[in-house]
């Protein structure tokens, strides 16, 4: 008997297993192919807007993704630097092979964690609760909690042209037994679709016809932990090329041969990650589309053709690829394909990611309808830690929308559900000024430490950093600046106008052209980059942050009002019919969550509040 059994070794499974094992639970990770642990079947990159902040959050909560990314990155960039503090985000290009190997190493080195290569055929269910699994070879493993992170493997089909093969990603065997069982257990399954572009051989590309996109010229890291500096000159470059009229002609002429357009696909694809066929059809007037060429690994020659996802037959893919500038002679090393798979309706989960129908069963990652490595990893950590916390009888980890993008993600999933693969975007967050790249530690490290995931050393370093932030803030507020010639000379040297009234350096920093590091003009001291950044953002956007905090406070108050789990909506007479059905469907655990269900009106919330107050039912768990 193990404490926690994780099905699947992708980005969700890896974080789930690590979280559980790090909390001292006997954990087993069962996956079909140990070599595929933390593999990156799609783009060789991690992070980007919103997603990069999730990676920071995982790190602040004590997860692995950020560290693993830092160790295996081959290019780092900070995006949106000038567009505002809330939307800055890191993105890395990663060596796929190294990433998977490194994550497997972390799993193997983890105490309390056993890795097992097998396909899970069935869940063992007893009295409405899961109590173990049976593998395809007939082996039974008893478990107190099971976390399903099956990715795109459930009943998956790979589609290329008119060919439809029962297969998982990267030629892996699909998982066939679990889907029908989930259906029997009452899960609403939906068919989703995603795809991947072809890879081409590096030496067959003429990069001189493309535009180079290098990494940043300074060191950047996802993790808050101690950093090993790297040589920025050794980063790999990415390249930009474009489709053209010829590419579009080829696609138009062969549209009927695309799996997507031949009626072969039933799944719903993501709007934000369309195939190139989709782009050409839907935006027919656009003369060209951007295509990025990204290296997949230092150990291989494969170049990932980002923006070129396709399910065309191989001969068409070849014609399409060679129509691209710089790729006239390119040879495809791996063809693109579309993949269809089963996912569940995540509204059948509690915000803890535990199933409402089958006790002790948790779900994370693409099975919940999301897409993306980061979204998967974030859920995996939450599911894993909650399985462990439940075994300890502790309060679960439920992140609020104003605390973390992971909170936005899970709340969206379990409250609104999704009909297409769900991707995080910054616009999904109401309070993104609070959910910044720079303050993930401030937001989440207390929580990470409290739930027992964040290592003590990292927590201590965080406390130290917070103290230094306070100290620097006070120091800056104490630097009085008088409008005399000597001071104004120094002020003008910063590229800003002289002052006319007495002020402090802290207030001067609120000017757009004054930076925190300029404090060194007025005092002799050196400060850490991260500390300067935080103090500067806090000062410059003080009013906005305050406003966001006030709004978040209201939301938090609503999220603090719990709805009894045994509430019977049929006994609340005044509820509107639609609201009653939606509430029964979603079973929100807080008033805040209930208010976010579409079709539940403010007046329904009032009635619900009054009903709860009237009945004073026991508080929910």
């Amino acid at each position: 008997m193990v404490d926690v059994l994780v099905i699947g070794g992708g980005h969700a499974g890896a974080e789930a297993a690590l979280a559980s094992a790090r909390k001292g639970k006997q954990t087993m990770l069962v996956t079909g192919n140990l070599n595929m642990i933390a593999s990156m079947p799609c783009n060789p990159s991690i992070g980007g807007p919103a997603k990069g902040i999730v990676v920071r959050e995982i790190d602040a909560l004590g997860g692995e993704m950020a560290k693993n990314t830092d160790k295996t990155q081959i290019q780092m960039r900070l995006l949106n630097h000038s567009k505002g503090p809330a939307v800055r985000a890191l993105r890395s290009q990663n060596d796929k092979n190294a990433y998977a190997r490194c994550m497997r190493g972390a799993l193997e080195a983890q105490a309390n964690l056993e890795l097992r290569e097998a396909y899970v055929d069935k869940l063992l269910i007893e009295k409405g609760a899961v109590c173990g699994i049976v593998t395809e070879s007939g082996l039974t493993v008893a478990a107190k909690k099971v976390v399903m992170t099956t990715g795109t493997y459930l009943n998956s089909h790979v589609l290329v042209g008119d060919q439809k093969t029962q297969m998982g990603p990267d030629n892996q065997k699909p998982s066939l037994g679990l889907s029908p069982q989930l259906k029997t257990l009452g899960f609403r399954l939906m068919r989703l679709k995603t795809g991947t572009p072809p890879r081409v051989k590096r030496e067959t590309i003429d990069f001189s016809k493309t535009q180079k996109h290098p990494g940043d010229s300074v060191n950047r890291f996802f993790s808050h932990a101690n950093h090993t500096p790297y040589d920025v000159k050794k980063q790999y470059d990415c390249y930009l090329t474009y489709t053209n009229a010829k590419t579009h002609e080829i696609i138009d002429a062969n549209l009927h041969r695309s799996a997507m357009y031949s009626g072969n696909i039933e799944g719903v694809g993501p709007r934000y990650c369309p195939s190139i066929e989709d782009k050409v059809v839907r935006f027919h007037d656009k003369p060209r589309h951007q295509i990025f060429l990204e290296p997949e690994s230092a150990e291989s020659d494969d170049i990932y053709v980002q923006g070129f996802s396709t399910s065309m037959p191989h001969d068409v893919q070849e014609a399409m690829i060679t129509s691209l500038p710089g790729l006239e002679q390119a040879q495809i090393s791996k063809y693109g394909y579309a993949i269809e798979y089963d996912a569940i309706d995540a509204r059948q989960l509690w915000p803890t990611l535990e199933s409402k129908m089958v006790k002790n069963l948790y779900m994370a990652g693409q099975i919940n309808g999301t897409s993306g490595y980061e979204e998967a990893a974030g859920q995996g950590l939450v599911a894993g830690v909650n399985a462990a916390l439940a075994l300890e009888g502790e309060e679960p980890l439920v992140l609020r929308r104003h605390e973390a993008y992971i909170g936005v993600l899970i709340d969206d999933l379990v409250t609104k559900g999704t009909r297409e693969p769900y991707r995080l975007l910054t616009s999904r967050a109401e309070h993104r000024l609070l959910l910044r790249n720079d303050n993930a530690d401030e937001r989440l490290m207390d929580i990470g430490y409290q739930v027992g995931l964040l290592p003590g050393a990292m927590y201590e370093a965080h406390r130290q950093k917070q103290r230094e932030i306070t100290r620097l803030t006070e120091t800056m507020k104490g630097i009085d600046l008088y409008p005399n010639e000597a001071t104004n000379q120094r002020i003008v040297s910063l590229g800003t106008k002289p002052i006319r009234n007495k002020t402090t350096f802290y207030d001067l920093m609120k000017r757009p052209d004054v930076r925190a590091k300029h404090v060194q003009v007025f005092m002799d001291a050196v400060f850490d980059e991260a500390i300067l950044e935080r103090v500067e953002i806090t000062a410059k956007y003080e009013g906005y942050i305050q406003k966001a905090n006030q709004q978040a406070k209201k939301m938090a108050a609503m999220d603090a009002m719990s709805i009894p789990r045994d509430i019977d909506y049929d006994t609340i007479h005044n509820l509107a019919h639609e609201a009653r059905e939606k509430l029964k469907h979603v079973s929100p655990i807080t008033i805040g969550q209930a208010s976010r269900i579409s079709g539940v009106n403010p007046s329904d919330i009032s009635i619900l509040l009054m009903y709860i107050k009237q009945n004073k039912t026991k508080p929910s768990v």
Binding site: K83, V87, R271, C273, G307, L425, S427, M555
Partner: protein
Amino acid sequence: MVYLIQVITMKKDTIAAIATSLGEAAINVVRLSGEDAFTIVDSVFDGQTLNDAPSHTVHYGHILDGTTTVDEVLVTLFRAPTSFTREDMIEIGCHGGTYVARKILELLLSKGARLAERGEFTERAFLNGRIDLTQAESVLDIIEARTELSLTLANQGLKGFLRDKIRAYRRRLLDVVAHIEVNIDYPEYDDVEQLTDELVLPMIADLRDSIEALLAKAEDGKVIRDGVKTAIVGKPNVGKSSLLNTLLGEERAIVTDIQGTTRDTVEASLNMGGVVLHLIDTAGIREAADAVERIGIERAKKALESAELVLFVLDNSVPLSDEDDTLLSLTKHKKRIIIINKIDLKSTIGRSFEDAVQLSALTKANMETLETRIKSMFLSGDLKQDTSATLANARQIGLLKQAAAQIRDAEQSARDKMPVDIIEIDLKNAWETLGEITGDSHGTDLLDELFSKFCLGK
């Protein structure tokens, strides 16, 4: 989302409403409840700083709109928990008449209060344990009705050009917001230019100008108007049009042919003893001369849907017919005044009605009885000024002002050289505020806009 939180559900936000009935009373009371009540009133009150004043005190001062004095008022303070709602409460006693109270309410709304829903003060009193359920029994029903009302408001709350205008503003805002979102979420997407402060500024300044122009018009009184929605009902040829003409002929008519902000076309408004009546769907009256004998039930039904008061006209000179009976039963649940017209002719109607007003629209005999009846219904509280229409209007004005202020904040941020991300916060808020006016939901609008307009993705 933000709409839900800020505007409706959160019991901690600050609500405001005119507590007195809008008639020709000598004074009106505007009341606020919620944690920002003191701060909000302080921001428009010229007098003692209320935030420092003790509970259960009355203060003299003036309400200011910028530098303009709106009214001379007495302000009564109640601090939590010793108030009706157990929250901080303020009652502003102002002068009578519709204009002043309305103006003060709009000011408060523009400073962050939100218009209270029907029964909401009582609801709060209950939720905060001030009164028990028996005392608040009716509240549940009111809230239930609110569901219907809010749907109606959302669907039909405003009509015609105003709705189209606000939708057009939202559209323009969404363009800017979506553009910024694409810049942020797809930083390498090179098809759209990177928006900068300099590019955003003229786009939104222009938009704010349009909103402010609309507001100015609203304040002229061309858009808002309070009153009782009234339908004149009766089968053809009973004298509906002569009644209307007599009413209008006595110089009571205020305006005609207003494309109002209510769901109905108000064809004429008139003042009867201080009560404003909006006559709705009088088309039937104008067609009465038409030889086509149709009972006009469909038309009557439509007018009846939203009428607060029905003036039901019967013809004294002909026997009561089946059509009369059908219309009578159709209107029996309405506030109704039965008018027996043509008393100058021989009575062959063959039935008597208690409380009926007997008059002759032609000779103007007994017209004053009708006026007295309407007035007494109103004073006894039997008849209310059309709250849904007035609420919708005060609410619309308040929200429009809020949206304009939010855009101004965005402009200020742009001039302060804040990054686009920061500017977008206020623009998104303004977009949501405008959505509250039209009742358009916005959950996935933005994402739909993004993906329909831009070809994004890896």
